[in-house]
């Protein structure tokens, strides 16, 4: 399985903080994004079509091309605003 996390405005817009997806369906982060975009416009705009989308895999900064393995934790979030 893959653990998917959504933070900040994404969590509110998508109405979900986390979920699990079967890893065998997804080779890369981009595959996950393509699939999630099928859920509707909110999902497509917030994630797949969002040029400012930030991605982390297992707590490290990742890209759409990052390859996935069983048990990976993938997080999607907007640009950070701490400090």
């Amino acid at each position: 399985m893959l653990e998917i996390l959504y933070f900040a405005s994404f969590r509110e817009v998508l109405g979900k903080a986390q979920e699990e997806l079967p890893v065998e369906n997804y080779k890369t982060v981009e595959c996950v994004l393509k699939d999630l975009a099928g859920r509707g416009e909110a999902w497509q705009q917030a994630l797949k079509d969002n040029a400012n989308l930030q991605i982390a895999v297992n707590h490290s900064v990742a890209t759409r091309q990052t390859e996935l393995n069983p048990g990976d934790e993938i997080a999607f979030f907007p640009p950070v605003t701490g400090g």
Binding site: F7, S9, A56, S60, P78, V80, T81, G83
Partner: protein, 155 residues
């Protein structure tokens, strides 16, 4: 590197004097301490703010802060360093973040503290949500100027 170097993500407030004292403990070779405290403004983008909420990504945030701290130690001859970042609900005037570094000479301490704050702004997963006096809320947008500030430290 000092045993007293650390990063903390916490709900509680912090005390600058107490933290700097810890940072200096056991170091007779420190000639400079530079600290930065970020606080909550009562106005942002022209709007009054009554509450500021800080969200983070448990696990990744601590790791990102520690990586930034270690990078500062690689770039400058520091004796010790700390980063404390608060999460949860805060009001105007509250302290949000503390960065403090020590070194033999002031140049390294000034630059390292500046570097840590600039990198924290654009690399540590925190998100701010503002609440206005009428109860409406707004997620804070990332600033282009913060991204530009980061580029000054590119090798």
């Amino acid at each position: 590197m000092s045993l007293y170097s650390f990063v903390k993500v916490q709900v509680e407030d912090f005390d600058l004097s107490t933290e700097v004292k810890i940072l200096r403990t056991g170091h007779k070779d420190i000639g400079a301490v530079v600290s930065f405290v970020g606080t909550v403004r009562d106005i942002n983008e022209g709007d009054d703010i009554s509450v500021l909420e800080l969200e983070h990504y448990p696990g990744m945030t601590e790791k990102a802060l520690e990586n930034i701290r270690l990078e500062a130690h690689e770039r400058w001859p520091l004796q010790s360093s700390l980063i404390i970042h608060r999460i949860g609900e805060m009001q105007p005037c509250d302290q949000i973040v503390l960065v403090a570094v020590t070194s033999r000479h002031r140049e390294a301490a000034f630059e390292a503290a500046h570097f840590i704050m600039d990198y924290l702004k654009t690399n540590a997963p925190f998100w701010k949500k503002e609440t206005f006096p009428n109860g409406e809320t707004r997620w804070v947008d990332a600033r282009v100027t913060d991204k530009e500030a980061e580029t000054r430290w590119l090798k």
